[in-house]
Structure formats: structure tokens, C-alpha cells
Symmetry: C3
Subunit: 208 residues, 3 copies
């Protein structure tokens, strides 16, 4: 079992948690089946979209059934953690940040290994990370997380580009992987802490 | 023409009806093209998602153009039935229940026949049944049906599991198919009649 | 570089513009990354869905990275045009109309060339054209454009059918292509100008 598999498992676990927790965080009421469904879609949505767009079959979770049990474990953990999460609102954001960082680099790496271009690899890395959450938000009628104000998908894109640069420089693979993941986490946490955001689109310079 | 094809045709027909009827049921106004579009997406959405996730090409309706005419017939029927549906609100739910029951087992069986695992077959059966309706609800800006209170996707999952158990026990295939379909219909109708629901997720036991 | 590639590039460019402009047109605030993301999804969404449903890999933009730079150019143009767009509300609709007309015929032609049936080709042409916009509207929590009152997807379907009729009649290919594109543009612009719409679905004749 290589490091990519392990990190994909961890990412899947925290995404399943974040998906199920999102239900509570948003003040909506779902039964446990609905919460599990959302946890499942959050966990597999981004990677599935990536694989479908690349035509890379079978999908990761279709081939490796362990992922389904990891997701189930994540959902159960989310249910157990739930009373604490109400008090510790940041827990959800931390899990989500870890999830997007891991999934970005796992997705970027997969696209590169399959022989796709750097541009496609960056997009696929970003999609792997954010599209599960976008589906979660669309299913719960929320405005997708990547259009709210903090830096989110852009942090993933920056990390994917860093990965490709380090990869081109010929750095050792695990170092490359780890550095890119940490880079995304740091950008995202700084953006959350200092409420950083990108300039608005189409705002006339004089209006600023 | 085998029984699976016949049941897929019937399921497609009732799903197309339920999709087009949903427009009226929800008090929204669509032109007939928009209603047909929603009927079409409702009818083919779940099965298409299943086949795309499995990488099973060509999709059923791409290969078998008759399905498109069945969908058209379902939409025309929905238009003709429309004045009665306003009075008979349950008609919509009955068609929808028949549709999800048939599609669950058709989808589960297809995944098993293609050699996928039992876990994947259960998910694909459930997706075949509910994802058309989820797409319908997303297109019409509704909260997806599977997150409203009654037992819905969970009934499909229970039926898919029953199918796999009976299949493993070696029962005759048509019996297995029919028993699982009826099982889903019964659970769903009981849930509607007695307003049954599953426990809420994350509710602290002491809060109950 | 054949005519289909050129028209696909133009269609992609105007769709990227329309996607990014939609953000402003709808009075929502997005940062430039979010606007770019929506422009990108609008531009590639319909064609990607078509190719995924047909199982035609690799996807156009995955294979031809130039499309990504065309999209980027479209988004930058949209940003530059932005102050004018506020005054010229119709600009958005013109770009969108050009985009759906080109994408409908490009999509219809592709499906026919790949050997699919006429019915499937019409649906795929229509999906190529409108599904990018549907995804854009779902991401921004809007009611999808094709369910608002003017003739929209139905114009695309009419154009796709015209293409197939002219194609069957054996007309020269570029003439067929151009005539069908212009047909869609004319229908759509007439519908906008005279506020044309199709009959409502399910309205009892006596109610009219």
C-alpha cells in the first residue's frame, strides 16, 4: 500500500466527516441516512468527477471497496463528534482544509501519471478537492463554498501549481507531495484567520 | 425482449410522467418544452449516472432509442392526466414509488452482472432510482426529495440489499426481482401512510 | 485546422465570456477566481457532459489545451468589457445566443459523425449548448435559464433538427452548418425581441 493510497484514505475519511458535519453546521435537519448520503457524495464526488472527466475507469471507490467503509467510519465519527462540533465550529473547517489539500495533490498527481498536460492536471487536482463540496452545497441548496469570500479553490490551484513546479525541478516525490499539501493548508488557514479574499471580478478600478 | 428490458421501459415511462408532473405538483409554471426536459432528465438521470460511474457504455437510452419515445409517451400522458393529478395528489407519489422500486433493482442487477461488488451494486441501484429525482429537484431549485422527511432512498437501499441476499440464496431470478421490487414499494407506501422517518443525525440522545 | 475546430473555439470563447459576465449580470459578487471558475464551467460544461454521455474520450478541452487559454482570454475580455456590460444588458444575451447556436450544431455533428442515431444527436446538440448554462445557473443558485419564459433550448432543438434534415438532403456541409446556426440565432433573437414563449404545460385548455 503506497503513500498515495494512504493519503487518499485519510482525505476520504475527513471529507466524509466534513460532509456529514456540514448538515449540522448549516442548521439543517437531516435523518442519519440523508447525512450519510451527503457525507458519501462529499467524499467521492470530487474524485469521481475527476475520473469521469479523464475517462479513468474503474473509479477509485468502485475498485477499492475499503473506501466505502472508510466513508462509513467517517460518518459515524462525525455523529459521535457532533455535540462537540456545535461548540467547536472550527473543527469542520480544519477537516475540510485537510481534505482539500490532500485531494488536490492526489488528483494532480494522478492526472500527471496518466500522461495528461500540466494545465489539465491543475484543473483535475482542484476539481478533486472542491467538487465534492460543491455537490454537497448544491444538494443542500447552499451557495457553493468556493463562491463565498475566503480563498478556497484558489489555494488548491496554487498548491497544484507548486506541486508541478517541484515535480519539474526533480525533487524527491514524498517531499514534493508533503510540501504542496502543507502549502495549501497554510494558505487556507491564513485566509480564514485574516479573512483574506481575492479582488472582486469586474469592479471598475475607480469604484474600489 | 427480456424482463429487465420490459421493466426498464415501464420504470422509464412512469419516471418521465413523474418528472413532468412534478412541475405541476410544485406549483411552478413551465412551458411544455421545459416540462418535457425535466421529464426526460428525471427518466434518464439516474440510469445515466449509474452507467457513467460504472463506465458502462453506451448508455441505455443512447443505445436503445425506443426509450426516448417511451419518455415522450410518458410526458404526453402526464399532460393528459394533468387535470386529474391536481385532484389526486397521490398519483404522483404512486408513479414515483413504482419508478424507484423498478430502477433500484434494475440498477443493482446490472452492476452485479457487470461483475462489480455487492457494495457498489447497492449504491448503483440506489443511485439509479433516486438520482433522476435529485437532478429534477436541483433543476427546479427544490430541496432534493431524498432529504425530506419520509423514508425514500433508504427504502431503495433496503430493497437492493434484499435482492442481493435472495440472489446469494440462489432463488429463481424473477422471484428475486419481483420480491425486491414489492419490498421497496411496501416500505415506501408504509412510510408515506404512517409518516415514518429515520432518526435525525447528530441529535444528542438527551435532546430526544 | 478545420471549420469545426474554429467554431468550437469561437463558441468556447463567447461562452466563457457569458459565464463570467453572468456573475455581474445577476448582481452577485464573486472574486475573479470565482468568476473565472463559473466562466470555465459554462464554457466546458455542455461539451463535457455530451462527451461523457457519449463515452467519447478524451474530452475536447482535455485533449486540446488551447481551449483553456481561449477560455482564459474570454474571461479576461469579460472583465475588460464589464463596465460597458452594465449599460449594454443585451451584450450578454448576444454572446450567449451565439454560443448556444454554435455549440448545438457542433454537438449534433459530432454525435452523427460518431455514428449515433438522429434522436441522440439532437439531444446531444441541445445538451452541448444549454447544459453549460444550466450548470452556471445551478452553481449560482439561479433558476436554470432554460426554464425561464423565452424560447431557449427549444430553439437549439429546432436548429439541430434542421441540421439533420439538411444533412439528409445531402447539402454541402458548410452551408448546412451555417444555415442551422443562423436559424437558431434568428429564432432566439425573435423570441427575445417579441417575448415569444411556448404554451404552458398541463394548463387545462378551458383555463387558457
Amino acid at each position: 500500500m503506497n503513500i498515495q493510497s494512504v493519503l487518499e484514505l485519510i482525505g476520504t475519511f475527513v471529507f466524509a466527516m466534513s460532509g456529514a458535519l456540514a448538515v449540522g453546521e448549516k442548521g439543517q435537519e437531516h435523518d442519519w441516512f440523508g447525512a450519510s448520503f451527503i457525507g458519501f457524495v462529499t467524499a467521492i464526488g470530487g474524485g469521481s468527477l475527476r475520473d469521469v472527466l479523464l475517462g479513468s475507469y474503474p473509479l477509485v471507490w468502485v475498485q477499492d471497496v475499503r473506501l466505502l467503509y472508510i466513508i462509513l467510519a467517517g460518518i459515524v465519527c462525525a455523529g459521535l463528534f457532533y455535540p462537540f462540533v456545535i461548540k467547536l465550529r472550527r473543527t469542520f473547517q480544519l477537516f475540510d482544509t485537510l481534505g482539500i489539500a490532500l485531494f488536490t495533490i492526489v488528483g494532480t498527481e494522478k492526472a500527471i501519471r496518466l500522461g495528461f498536460s500540466a494545465e489539465v492536471a491543475v484543473i483535475m487536482g482542484m476539481f478533486s478537492a472542491v467538487m465534492g463540496g460543491v455537490l454537497r452545497d448544491m444538494l443542500t441548496n447552499e451557495i457553493p463554498v468556493l463562491f463565498r469570500k475566503e480563498i478556497y479553490a484558489s489555494a488548491c490551484m496554487a498548491g497544484a501549481i507548486l506541486y508541478l513546479v517541484l515535480y519539474d525541478l526533480g525533487l524527491e516525490r514524498n517531499t514534493t507531495f508533503l510540501a504542496s499539501v502543507i502549502f495549501i493548508i497554510v494558505i487556507r488557514l491564513l485566509a480564514l484567520k485574516y479573512n483574506l479574499s481575492l479582488p472582486k471580478f469586474g469592479r471598475h478600478p475607480k469604484q474600489l
